[in-house]
């Protein structure tokens, strides 16, 4: 017994390392476990509370820059509005002609980014809204320029968002005008790859990419990005498109969660 104890003591560093590695692997393999989600949800609330003063300072320091950007955007939007109003009228009259029955609108919940994690690569953000605001898991998160992720873990007053640049993130998308669908995943920097596209699909650089609506999480036609490269290998049965997304994940200050979709009967 004593010799066993002495052996354990002698190799305590190796044993401790084995224990640390085993525990880490257990966490890694049980990533989707409800227990792990519960712990992460609770800790997210706690860390958000700790981080909130810093988030406030960060918001204040970037406020002036954001105001300038918003002014610029406001002018651009005012100019766009004129042409959009005409298109809206035209669209309404065409809908009347087609007897179009339903139109959807999203119930959006505005949220502030309070934390972007501390690991060496950003793959998640924490928002300052939670269960008490009606947030649940698997709700789409977006900014005006496009989709940025989905809610992953929801605490009482904070929500951890799995960003679009997470390695395990997949999104069903449609490329317009060809209406081809494929699966989007992160590649590098702000470049993403759409796989499983039909070989004969007519896709060009500059085509718009939106959500397909096939997903249970994302409604259709949410903006995603723009095609920048098409890879069409001879030996492959499918095409691959590379797209660039507009939102800069590392500089997002505010985001919106789609907490519900309402349908207006026409």
């Amino acid at each position: 017994m004593r010799s066993l104890y002495l052996t354990l003591l002698k190799y305590k560093d190796h044993l401790l390392f084995l224990l640390a590695i085993s525990l880490s692997l257990v966490f890694l393999l049980r990533n989707e476990s409800p227990d792990i989600y519960l712990i992460r949800g609770k800790s997210s609330d706690l860390f958000s509370f700790i981080n909130s003063p810093l988030a406030w300072v960060k918001n204040m320091t970037q406020l002036q820059k954001e105001t300038e950007l918003l002014r610029e955007k406001n002018i651009q939007l005012s100019l766009q509005l004129e042409s959009m109003l005409a298109a809206y009228e035209e669209n309404n009259s065409l809908k009347d002609l087609l007897d179009y029955s339903r139109e959807s609108s999203f119930e959006l919940l505005a949220a502030k980014v309070i934390n972007m994690g501390i690991s060496s690569n950003i793959s998640s953000i924490t928002l300052d809204v939670g269960k008490k605001d009606g947030v649940t898991t698997n709700q789409p998160v977006l900014v005006p320029s496009g989709v940025i992720g989905k809610t992953l873990i929801v605490g009482e007053s904070s929500t951890l968002v799995q960003c679009i640049n997470d390695i395990n993130y997949r999104l069903s998308v449609r490329i317009y005008p060809s209406a081809t669908t494929g699966i989007l995943r992160y590649l590098i920097n702000d470049i993403y790859e759409i796989r499983e596209l039909q070989k004969n699909a007519q896709i060009n650089v500059g085509d718009k990419v939106v959500t397909s609506g096939y997903s249970k999480i994302y409604p259709e036609n949410l903006p995603v990005g723009e095609v920048v490269e098409i890879l069409d290998e001879r030996g492959s049965f499918q095409k691959v498109a590379r797209i660039k997304i507009s939102p800069k994940i590392s500089s997002i200050l505010n985001a919106f969660i789609i907490v519900g979709i309402s349908f207006d009967e026409k």
Binding site: K12, F17, I21, V26, S119, S120, N165, N168, L187, I188
Partner: protein
Amino acid sequence: MKNNNLLFVTIGTLLFQILFVDFLTINLIRPDFLLIYVFYIAIIYGRVVAIVVAFSLGLLSDLFGVGSYFGLGPLTLSTTAYLSGFLYNKYERLLPYVFHCIWIGILLLHFYINTYFRFQTIFVSDILDFVSIWLTSFSYTMIFFLIMQYFYPMKEASRAKIN
């Protein structure tokens, strides 16, 4: 007393990472001060303390927010702590270039594991891009590591317990 100091410095490092990491983000890549800290702890206090500190910091870092691969932080930091523990009290016993090659190798391995988990698709599709991300992440943290060398050289750190 020594344990209290270690605890305070560990909490301080964690706070430093929390406070400054967002301001130092370039192209989604951030410096890893926790890694630098764990390495120093390993050469000052040895393997056992380093593994405990590394595991705790890794876990806290992941609890602070990570999309998927919860557990990767403790895994990589504990591995780094374990390997860096080999350099405990070895500064004078090893040839300088061997010592420096070993610690650079350990840091490279840390970033390799991290990058591999997070960019598996690029590893498969374009190995050059993968290597570029790996070396960029490594180099960015290395800049801060070298700055740290100016204030607290490794030579001094490895003797800290002897003196």
